[in-house]
């Protein structure tokens, strides 16, 4: 029988009955727990982002790692972990809010400025153009200072508060525990939390860039900002990134891109991109 030939009705009926009689598989516990855990993380993130849009989700790498290490029986531990992350994030919120009230904050290790800028979804390009002088200056300072010493942008020098006194390296688990153990009131005025946010962004940006531009760009996160919908109902955290063009570094050789902080490689959401020399 040719496999392109139509079946006679009896044979077709038999095949259909056989297919209908296939056992319904049950979702294995290990997969069910893994998915429940992922949804729990998602739920936590949603709650945090509802409170404040600048708290980002865990980077994809972290989720992948969780995927690998999840085993039956660990789910309660996982939930406890989520609670710890939640506590961590709440402390972060306080810090970010402090930074917002200062309007700027520059960390030594991470060239990120939190300007408190809120972009509107409509006509993003022109809004970035308005910001260009500031973005250019910040980018220029970052790119000319490979040691990541404190930036001295107008924003930074205008600041009379929140100058970083000390900066730790990107947090790993041990450091997170150490941070959690610190006095919460002191944490609220510490820039380490700002670094954690920046670290999350930096973890994600290369993945976004893979899908934006496969060239060997060395992105600079210029700013963390917010993107607000026209009806002011949706606010999402975005990063403003400067991409070197043609691998040369100069005032006119950057392209600015606005991406979701929470975007992944597969769903990079580029809101706007603008050549600085256009």
């Amino acid at each position: 029988m040719n496999d392109n030939q139509d079946l006679n009705p009896e044979d077709e009926q038999e095949i259909r009955e056989l297919l209908a009689s296939l056992d319904a598989p049950t979702l294995p516990t290990v997969f069910s727990e893994r998915i429940e855990y992922a949804l729990a993380v998602e739920s936590e993130n949603r709650e945090h982002q509802r409170v404040h849009p600048l708290v980002s989700a865990p980077p994809p790498d972290e989720l992948q790692e969780r995927r690998r290490i999840m085993r039956p029986g660990r789910i309660l531990g996982g939930i406890a972990g989520i609670a710890a992350v939640g506590l961590f994030a709440v402390v972060g919120l306080q810090t970010i809010q402090t930074a917002n009230s200062d309007q700027e904050l520059v960390a030594k290790s991470f060239p990120v400025v939190l300007t408190g800028t809120t972009y509107q979804t409509a006509d993003l390009d022109s809004q970035i153009k308005k910001q260009l002088p500031q973005l250019k200056q910040l980018t220029s300072e970052y790119s000319s200072n490979s040691t990541n010493s404190p930036a001295s942008s107008d924003l930074a020098t205008q600041s009379t508060q929140s100058q970083p006194s000390s900066v730790q390296s990107p947090t790993d688990q041990a450091q997170e525990k150490q941070i959690l153990a610190k006095d919460l009131d002191a944490m609220a005025n510490d820039e380490i939390m700002m670094e954690t946010v920046a670290s999350n962004v930096r973890n994600r940006i290369p993945e976004c860039l893979d899908s934006i531009d496969p060239t060997d760009a060395n992105p600079i996160i210029v700013d963390l900002a917010k993107l607000e919908s026209e009806d002011h109902q949706d606010v999402e955290p975005i990063a403003v990134i400067a991409l070197p063009v043609d691998e040369t570094v100069g005032d006119e050789d950057f392209e600015f891109v606005l991406v979701d902080i929470n975007c992944t490689k597969e769903s990079a959401n580029i809101h706007a991109r603008l050549m600085i020399n256009e």
Binding site: M1, N2, D3, N4, Q5, D6, L7, D11, E12, I15, R16, L18, L19, A20, S21, L22, D23, A24, P25, T26, L27, P28, F31, S32, E33, R34, I35, E36, Y37, A38, L39, A40, E42, S43, E44, E47, R50, R67, I75, L76, G78, I79
Partner: protein, 222 residues
């Protein structure tokens, strides 16, 4: 939030609430509503994911991707279709996306548990018929996994999961005629494969090489 915990309280709390109301509650911020939707439909969604991909790991990843996507995009659900139809659509698309991305990866359609079940059953002579039936089902699963993805998805939805042609068309976002065509062609291939299993000597020239996705262009009747 009750993910991963005893769901009995959740079940009773949402007992009289239908899927659409649950979805609305989730969009409104209820932290438990989506967990209940997952609890209600996980096995059926799993069945579709497993049979669409033919591989448990791929199915689990596809299902997880789909559920996260559904969680985030719940506000785009417009209630013009059943929640389960909407979620099946997301799951099938997530699985098909994974299959297309991993097109060069061979499938391993025989779940371990089926193989174990086969071994256990084989020890009982009196269960010979049952064994043969089991073997047939295993072979059917295998043949299903070797079908082109679009035909497989259509057959899984219509013949295995019992969706109507129109519902399957909605889920796969194609005309009903296309679903009918894919099902007919898929069934014909399955029949060939099973005929050879039942009587290997009878049809030596039957083309058992399974059509690849690339070959299936033009089999749709739009």
């Amino acid at each position: 939030m009750t993910y991963g915990l005893d769901n009995s309280g959740l079940e009773s709390r949402f007992e009289s609430i239908d899927d659409k109301a649950l979805m609305a509650a989730h969009v409104a911020g209820d932290p438990d509503a989506f967990a209940e939707i997952f609890r209600r439909h996980r096995d059926r969604l799993w069945a579709v994911a497993l049979r669409t991909t033919g591989d448990p790991e791929e199915a689990a990843d596809g299902l997880q991707d789909a559920l996260i996507s559904a969680y985030r995009k719940a506000d785009t659900y417009r209630a013009d279709a059943a929640v389960t139809t909407w979620m099946h659509r997301i799951v099938v698309n997530a699985c098909l996306d994974r299959l297309r991305r991993n097109a060069s990866r061979p499938t391993s359609p025989l779940p371990e548990s089926e193989a174990e079940a086969q071994r256990h059953t084989a020890t009982h002579k009196s269960a010979q018929d049952q064994l043969e039936h089991k073997e047939l089902k295993i072979e059917l699963d295998r043949a299903l996994a070797l079908l082109p993805t679009d035909q497989r998805a259509a057959i899984v939805l219509v013949d295995v999961e019992g969706y109507s042609v129109n519902e399957a068309a909605q889920i796969l976002d194609c005309p009903p005629g296309t679903i009918k065509s894919r099902c007919a062609r898929g069934r014909a291939k399955l029949a060939v494969r099973l005929a050879e299993l039942r009587n290997p000597q009878s049809s030596p020239n039957v083309g058992l090489e399974v059509e690849t996705d690339a070959e299936q262009g033009g089999d749709d009747q739009k």
